[in-house]
Amino acid sequence: MKWNWGFILRRLAYSVLALVGLSILVFAIARVLPGDPVRLALGPHASASAVFQLRIQLHLNQPIWLQYIYWIEGIFTGNWGISLFTHRNVLTDVEAFLPATLELLIAAAAIDILIAVPLGVIAGRRENTVVDNAVRVLSYVGIAIPSFVVAIFLQHFFPSYVGQLSPGVQPPPHITGLAFLDALVTAHFSTAWNALLHIIPPAFALALGPIAQEARIMRSSVVENLGRDYTVAEISRGLPERVITLKYLMKPSLIPTITIYALDISSLIANAFLVELIFNWGGFSQYGLNAILSKDLNAIVAVVMIAGVLFVISNFLVDLTVGYLDPRIRLQSRSDE
């Protein structure tokens, strides 16, 4: 398979530029939020020396541009600054809380694509039938209901599945930080089962909206491609429907779906803020929410930046996936050159 490497490198460069811009923006916004972060962290009774010391440590006595340089320097040396909420290096917090959220996002993304694509294909193939209409109604409902409402609903029916594991269930040995995966690879199967049961409700709450949206996109795409000449030709040649659907119809139909899928995955991080809170998930989004509420400067910047990095990575991967699915996109820039 031929790739246009110039195209890929340009995408990478744009991504880095976007992240630099994001870092400046977030860094500045975090510092103009109301409230003295030091006083908020130390409380009204903290001694003047403690306040002074923390202010110096956070470089709050320096101009904002210098604070930014200190922060950038710290990013590359492992010193992401102190969290005012957990009193630890933010990098330590990220290592502690990000895996739980990644696991949730992976589960949500998997549920999303595994349900949305078949639903879209079935609806597209059965255009204007009862099945299509049923999927349409389900899609509208899914799009209309915010993820946190679904989360509350699910939590009501599955109250035992709050948190990553049931109380008293020993967490598996730390390998990746992903409870289900770690339990599985270390042969703690009852723990893995417990982790799986716990992840399904919040992951489904996160995935429902994207499922609905992508099912609609997929359905439209299938209907459109079903009317194209090459499909008519394949049908007229007597190819089995399964072959036509899976080999010739799915690939082009997936392109718009995958593009939306990438955007939806990125938005999962934002939606996870409330869903994690409702399920007391203890992940990165819950950490971010607390950081914002307590004006935890370094934590806020770290959370937004990591969300930004995940967004950029998912978009970059989508570019590659779409390029894989459609050679015209993959090679377009090359032919331009």
């Binding site: 109250p159 109380p167 007597g238 409702i278």
Partner: protein, 590 residues
């Protein structure tokens, strides 16, 4: 043109779809069947228990028919929710969740009784020098930390020095008074004070004793640095403990919960039926708490649930609603420097215009009417101050005596009232206030602000609103604690004072009371000060806070809910004094 596949092919695809659907149905049925079996086992055990529970409070464990223990309630753990995850560094933690953990993980020299008196704990005896500036404590022998290290006087010295150096948490109680701490021998500690501090013994219940060697072994060079002590072990202490208390930290997730287990070698022994493990969950999200409680995942709710929610939980079978008095008070703080609330008559009129009964009956249901600047449960409270009550006629008369009314420009002022958006019920209080003030001709502009903005705006006088409503509580068991933090000049610019009193006479009175050694005299001084503050009408005392929680009385016998509370922050949760019946929990929820 509509394109469709030939019928034959459609049949082939249809077969594939059917196979796929069958597989999905089988998987879903398996999961549903599993869930159904679990629920069946729960309902079976629940019905058995309810009938048994009414007959006897000490049921023997029932045989669980749960299919998979991982999805049922873990009956060996007592689980409770708090507003946040406890901060378990004794030099940092000072909120309700943190103190509730600290009093179990660590020991203190003395222990506070609900009456306000202190009794021996780590210290068996103590003496005070005639001038009241030297306190000598003799330590109990045979006390060990959780790692087996013996607890000595040098650990006490280290703990106080660490608290003072870090300057956070409860350090402010001692900073102005403690000159030095020494350990003449391994079981004697001497505190030398710069000046007399009457409630020193009461304040010492906030000095949690750490294992010096264990903390020193975990000091790191990241985080806030304290010279040679590096971070003073602060990062490690957030997820571990170095105490000698009845419980020790088993695990900690700073975003969700900490789990503590009983310390078998506790110097005071272990009590029969005390919970072996306690799960302290940091979540007061109503939806989460409701689900957890209904399913038996928690046995006691936090105190921050909306009243309607906690009332519903308390009315569940086998559950109970309980009200526990606290040393908190809801203050409607009035800015005494800003027009028109800088007029005494305006403030007094507002005090009489508010419908307090509506507040405690309809808004913050279950709380009790306040009686001046100090909660009634706090030793040193002045019982002679009138209970808050509404008198609209008097309020109208008072407002007419204000200089703004006489000048005819009262209606040109709008009184800004901040309520904290994180506590939705406060909006109802603000609206009630605005409505009541309208009756006496005062215009109130109700503004909801997030806590960050409230703290920021209270940072200086010019940005402070006319009024803000905030709850505050005592750090130790004396009225002086709240009088100092609420009404002295140093607390101006913090969220604890929007009154901006600038009153050096009052400052001197409060400091003089705090320096009085004789408790009877000191309490009398507190009462006089309360009366003086009351007469200045700088605050509207909305209500005394009562903690309203739901719990399962057959599962946990909790002294605070049984009429023997210890209202000092954290002390209602001495888990060693709880009686926990896992068999009951199993019987109720499987």
């Amino acid at each position: 043109m509509r394109i469709s596949f030939p019928q034959k092919t459609r049949t082939a695809i249809g077969r594939t779809a059917v196979v796929g659907i069958v597989i999905v149905v089988i998987v879903v049925a398996a999961i549903a069947g599993y869930a159904a079996m679990t629920m069946t086992s729960k309902s079976t055990t629940t019905s058995t228990t309810q009938s048994s529970a009414s007959q006897s409070p000490t049921i023997s464990p029932t045989t669980s028919t749960s299919v998979t223990p991982t999805t049922s309630v873990n009956s060996s753990i007592l689980s409770i929710t708090w507003a946040n995850v406890p901060v378990t560094d004794p030099a940092i933690g000072s909120d309700e969740a943190s103190t509730s953990a600290l009093v179990n993980l660590y020991d203190t020299l003395i222990f506070p009784e609900p009456s306000g008196q202190v009794v021996p704990d780590l210290a068996t005896t103590w003496t005070t020098s005639p001038n009241g500036t030297t306190y000598t404590f003799t330590l109990r022998s045979g006390v060990t930390f959780h790692n087996g290290d013996p607890l000595t006087a040098s650990d006490v010295v280290y703990s106080m020095n660490r608290l003072l150096t870090m300057g956070q948490g409860y350090s402010y109680l001692f900073t102005a008074y403690v000159k030095s701490v020494t350990a003449p021998n391994s079981n004697t500690v001497v505190f030398n004070l710069k000046k007399t501090f009457g409630p020193f013994l009461s304040a010492l219940v906030r000095l949690y004793v750490l294992d010096q060697n264990q903390v020193a072994a975990h000091e790191v060079s990241t985080g806030t640095q304290y010279g040679n002590n590096l971070d003073y072990g602060s990062a490690w202490l957030l997820t571990h403990d170095a105490g000698s208390g009845a419980y020790t930290t088993e695990s900690a997730n700073l975003e969700t919960n900490i789990v503590i287990t009983e310390y078998k070698n506790y110097w005071n022994g272990t009590n029969a039926n005390q919970p072996a493990t306690v799960n302290m969950i940091g979540s007061d999200n109503p939806s989460t708490v409701s689900s957890l409680f209904k399913s038996g995942q928690i046995q006691i709710t936090d105190q921050w649930q909306p009243y309607t929610d906690v009332k519903a939980l308390g009315s569940l079978p086998s559950a109970k609603l309980v009200s526990i008095p606290a040393v908190n008070e809801m203050y409607i703080m009035i800015n005494t420097q800003e027009a028109p609330t800088n007029d005494l008559y305006v403030r007094e009129a507002m005090t009489y215009a508010l419908n307090y009964t509506a507040v405690v009956d309809n808004i913050f249901t279950g709380n009790s009417l306040a009686q001046g600047p100090v909660p009634t449960a706090l030793p040193g409270h002045n019982p002679n101050i009138p209970v808050a009550h509404q008198n609209v006629t008097l309020a109208k008369q008072l407002i007419q005596q204000s200089r703004y009314y006489k000048a005819g420009n009262l209606s040109s002022y709008s009184i800004t009232y901040y309520w904290v958006t994180q506590v939705p019920a406060e909006q109802q209080l603000a609206e009630e206030f605005a409505s009541d003030m309208q009756a006496i001709g005062l215009k109130v502009n109700v503004v909801g602000e997030p806590w960050l903005t409230v703290v920021a705006d209270l940072g200086n006088q010019t940005s402070s609103p006319n009024i803000v409503s905030v709850e505050d509580d005592a750090s130790y068991y004396e009225a002086g604690s709240l009088l100092q933090s609420r009404y002295t000049t140093p607390s101006e610019g913090t969220w604890e004072q929007n009154e901006w009193l600038h009153n050096s006479t009052l400052d001197n009175l409060i400091y003089a009371a705090l320096s009085t050694l004789d408790q009877t005299q000191r309490f009398q001084d507190y009462m006089n000060i309360q009366q003086q503050i009351y007469n200045m009408y700088p605050t509207i005392y909305a209500y005394d806070v009562t903690e309203i929680r739901a719990y399962y009385p057959t599962v946990v016998n909790w002294y605070a809910a049984s009429g023997h509370p210890n209202a000092l922050l954290g002390y209602n949760f001495i888990f060693r004094d709880f009686q926990f019946y896992p068999s009951q929990l199993t019987a109720l929820f499987g």
